[in-house]
């Protein structure tokens, strides 16, 4: 890249390397300096401070642009890449004139994008990968965990592509993407719930060692009665109970965890519950 005299009216062109270094900075910082007030605002500033300096050689404009990005911003970091790609293109093209447009694009999209992104990245992916990898891990098998890291590497590449997509197609794409993604979210929820059904049966382990004596015949409660009614009957019952409890405001996840700990200890003490094998 040759050093040329910057003509202030001429829009500054960023190289692909500079753009990628900015988004990589953002991806590295992410929510590592998250605060309750402006949330990811400082992270965006930290990441884009160098490319913005190039776009705004004048100190006053630079500070104004930084202040603009210091404002509240929060969305799924993966989805933020699209938004930040689009806003960078806007700032590169129009400079400080784009300030208000940049801010309104960020604030109007971060909510809907977070809804889609959080569902896909922080709920569905961990549900599907987590249940498969977690279930394998229960048997001591690390294959699922390794596969997950590979998925993360693919995702890393995809995030860079999302940034490029936002940069290249700007505002146009960003507004039309919403519909497709919400259908996608709904469809992947179905996949997630199917897996949840399987996990209730396989990953939750509750069983009783109780036995009944009927005359001279010994009848094991678990294999003789419960399993005859329905396999995984107790796990299904516990799952339903926990689902209902979590639906009430009084029962936080932590309380439910404590309740299950107490039930397990009582069950072990009285011999009603046994260690699953």
């Amino acid at each position: 890249m040759s050093k040329e005299v910057v003509k202030t009216d001429q829009p500054t062109k960023l190289t692909k390397r500079e753009r990628h270094s900015a988004i990589l900075r953002y991806m590295t910082m992410g929510v590592n300096n998250f605060n309750y007030e402006t949330q990811q605002g400082p992270s965006v500033v930290w990441a884009f401070s160098k490319v913005l300096r190039k776009i705004y050689p004048k100190d006053d404009e630079y500070v104004e642009a930084l202040d603009n990005h210091f404002k509240y911003f929060n969305t799924t970091t993966v989805m933020a890449n699209i938004i930040l790609g689009a806003t960078l293109a806007m700032e590169e093209k129009d400079g400080i004139k784009s300030k208000d447009a940049v801010q309104s694009l960020k604030t109007s999209l971060m909510g809907p994008f977070a809804g889609i992104g959080d569902t896909l990245i922080w709920v569905l992916l961990p549900t599907i990968m987590g249940s498969i990898a977690g279930y394998m891990a229960l048997q001591g098998n690390p294959t699922g965990a390794i596969a997950w890291i590979l998925v993360d590497i693919v995702l890393f590449w995809l995030r860079l592509k999302l940034f490029d997509l936002g940069y290249d197609s700007g505002v146009k794409l960003v507004t039309t993407l919403g519909d497709r993604l919400s259908v996608f979210t709904e469809a992947s929820s179905v996949m997630g719930l199917t897996v949840v059904g399987a996990l209730v049966a396989t990953a939750v382990k509750v069983q009783t060692p109780l036995t009944f004596m009927t005359g001279k015949v010994k009848l094991a409660m678990q294999t003789g009665v419960l399993d005859k009614i329905m396999p995984a009957l107790l796990p299904a019952a516990v799952a339903y109970l926990v689902y209902r409890l979590l639906g009430s405001k009084k029962w936080t996840p932590t309380r439910v965890i404590v309740l299950l700990l107490v039930l397990s200890l009582l069950g072990a003490f009285t011999g009603i519950l046994g260690v699953a094998n």
Partner: protein, 268 residues
Amino acid sequence: MPDIVQNILILILASYATLDNQGITIINYWPVTVGLIAGLIMGDMHTAMVIAGTFQLMSLGVAGLGGASVPDYGLATIVGSFLAIRTGSGIATAVAVGLPVGLLAIQFDVIIKLANNFIAHKAQAYAHQKEFDKMRMINWLGPFFFALKNFIPMIVVVTVGPTAVKAILSIIPQWIMNGLTIAGGMLPVVGLGMLMHYMPTKKYVSYIIVGFVFAAYLKVPVFGVALLGLAAAIVIFQQGMKTANAKKAQVDAMTVTNDQPQGDDYDE
């Protein structure tokens, strides 16, 4: 691997994993992925994975969305694997020590995010003073605090943990150990329950039943059931797109008269 090297590596893992999770997300902070690294460090993959799997299933559906603070299952896994492998005890120790540490660690999370408020203000003040390097530098404090959040409990566990746990294990009655092991088997249900609240369970409850039947009665492995779910998801996606496109075509037909090319002129 000598104990001291293991101790140092496990401390690095604990401090780094949370930063990875909140930033680059390659290893991330999932119990199975940090458990994988912990297993490599501690030299007992089987125990580490069993503990990680238990915490992984517990953590399903417990996502820290919108900056919410959630139980720290990643740290629970690292603490649990370290102690269980070092003391030669099993999953009961991991549940007994790892889980409380993970639940306590959330409190620090809140404090750091409050402290970051001040850092953000300071950074902006530096920007106004045109001290742009300082503005950037001060932002390293956030990641530093987050690393410290895991480093502090971990160094306590590494230094006094094994001896303390061994001492406690020798006096603890068997039924308590059994109870904790039972809890380890039962606790994944919490994550599943939370997940069901996050997803459109009432609308698609039939798919939960399908998944359950295939796993419980037909013994299809989880991956097979996931493929089944994928098949259903593809059908629903295709139908959803058809409906969305039909709706869009309708709207386009209605607005064809005042259709202005929009989208490119965002600067006005």
